[in-house]
Symmetry: C2
Subunit: 299 residues, 2 copies
DNA sequence: ATCGGGCGATAGAGAAATCCTATCAAAACA
DNA sequence: TGTTTTGATAGGATTTCTCTATCGCCCGAT
């Protein structure tokens, strides 16, 4: 029964019988039969299909909600019983938005000190993907914006606030200033994330609000690519201050506060709003609260 | 998987492999194998057995908690999907303490008017049993004291308050009085519930507090037996006023308020604290809130 | 000490389910 | 119109499940 519900979850995220089957390590006929069996026991069609996957019926949606819950609980049960015998162990699957990737270590390092047998998998994802994968139990927790997208059924722990800075060489454009306006920044050629990233959209929005259209010289979905370019001193960028600090960019570049307006957004940890949480996730949330205090709350 | 968890639930309430197997409609070896399989997948012993059932291990207790939750959710899922297709239908299993049995109709009657396809099973149980069976998912909701036992993880809806009256013929002992004290009542030979019932313990406690020892002429766990005796006019009893009214005892007998102290206890509906509830239970809780208002709240 | 009954584990056979490979039909795409 | 993609179906092998029958153990009674 529970494995059939897992089929449904896989189908929900893959939207494709074949790929969902792969994800479950079964063949496509097996997954088809599993879904069909669920439909038989409920006496209701769960999936709309016309020679290809066409989404879930209303009943399917409800079953999907329950499936997420039940499958999640079953996993939490296994994990908890295992933890009772062998202490906290297993793999914690995280996803973070690119601008938060550099600070993940401030969560994982103290966590590992406390629970050395826990392994990590950390994905770089857009804020949308973080929430979607959290929903589908593909990850245990995420690090993303708390104040932009609607969060859904999650527990959120604010970690810090992004304050935006112009990263530029001292002898570059505006490099001698103590503060700059968004209007001025819009004149500077910039390196930014690609537009599917919320950080890019936030910054773009602030730039467009000045009435000017910014000049994005280079864009990438990889922070390490942006970092290596900006570090040369020949490219400018707009970044959260804490990120620039963590990357040691402020050693070689100026990080100039951008005003009018002084925008900021909250970044935090999100975990499924399950009660109780899995032991691994619960420990992470507890650590996150401690770290948030160390980081000066969400200030 | 889920059916194995059901085995565990049955074992928890029957405390006996054979009887638990019967309750699950399987043979004893099948249930034994199911439990063993759970133990194998978790890699932990769940049940202490020394040629007979000796309770659960600590890990078994935790698994049991999860099992209650998962099995309950699975049932709720089935019920909800069924309700989406065919409207509310099925069987609502209730348990009420004896002194509340007569008022159950004030819940079931409006419920049935709204949802004619729902069938009822109502058990007469002690307040302890109500909570235990609620815990083990043997019943969907219960009607019991809200202010005496610790309730545990339930949602409670207060329905009314029990105010105690001396039921006695007009020409019987104290029959002409407008109010009596517990001390006086302690002198009267009474018909009461048996001592495992909380109502009996409440009344006995009030009587003993006067320093006298009451004279319990007749006791039973059956309300209809008490009713038929008291109705003759030759036996006296102490009952909640609303109960006496519902049973029309006040037509033929006097119901004299008992003071010093004017004790009262709250009776209410209790349902598992599951979010979301099963549709049948949710509808019952909604009705209970309405009925509570009609009854004048918990006053 | 021995017998008898209750309880749960074990063995083995038959039944049922699950899962796979191979194939098919329909729709989508070029 | 041919090709590809997608999900359903058929048939057979394998695994899993569940039953009957029986055993071993503990306990209480004789």
């Amino acid at each position: 029964m529970i494995d059939k519900l897992e089929f449904l979850l896989a189908l929900a995220r893959e939207k494709h019988f074949g790929r969902a089957a792969d994800a479950c390590n079964v063949t496509q006929p097996t997954l088809s039969a599993g879904v069909k069996q669920l439909e038989d026991t409920f006496g209701v069609l769960l999936v709309n299909r016309g020679s290809r996957f066409q989404g879930f019926t209303p009943e399917g949606q409800r079953v999907l909600d329950w499936a997420r819950r039940i499958v999640g609980d079953a996993r939490a049960m296994r994990e908890e019983v295992h933890a009772l015998r062998h202490g906290l162990a297993g793999r914690l699957r995280l996803a973070a938005i690119p601008t938060a990737l550099a600070m993940v270590e401030s969560l994982t390092t103290p966590y590992r000190a406390r629970h050395p047998n826990v392994q990590f998998t950390v994905y770089s994802r857009t804020s949308i993907q973080v929430l979607a994968e959290l929903e589908n139990l593909e990850i245990d927790a995420g690090i993303t914006y708390l104040d932009n997208e609607p969060l859904g059924r999650v527990t959120a722990v604010p970690l810090y606030r992004e304050h935006y800075r112009l990263l530029v060489a001292a002898d570059g454009p505006l490099g001698s200033r103590d503060k700059v306006t968004w209007k001025e920044v819009a004149q500077v050629p910039l390196c930014l994330l690609t537009p599917e990233m919320q950080n890019r959209r936030i910054i773009e929005h602030l730039l467009y609000d000045t009435g000017n259209s910014p000049n994005i010289m280079l864009e990438s979905d990889s922070m390490i690519l942006l970092y290596s370019h900006v570090r040369t001193g020949s490219w400018a960028s707009v970044m959260p201050e804490r990120l620039a600090d963590t990357l040691r960019l402020t050693d070689v570049l100026r990080a100039i506060p951008i005003v009018e307006p002084e925008a900021s957004h909250t970044i935090g940890l999100v975990a499924p709003a399950r009660e109780p949480m899995t032991p691994l996730t619960a420990a992470l949330v507890a650590d996150a609260r401690r770290v948030a205090k160390a980081l000066g709350g969400a200030s």
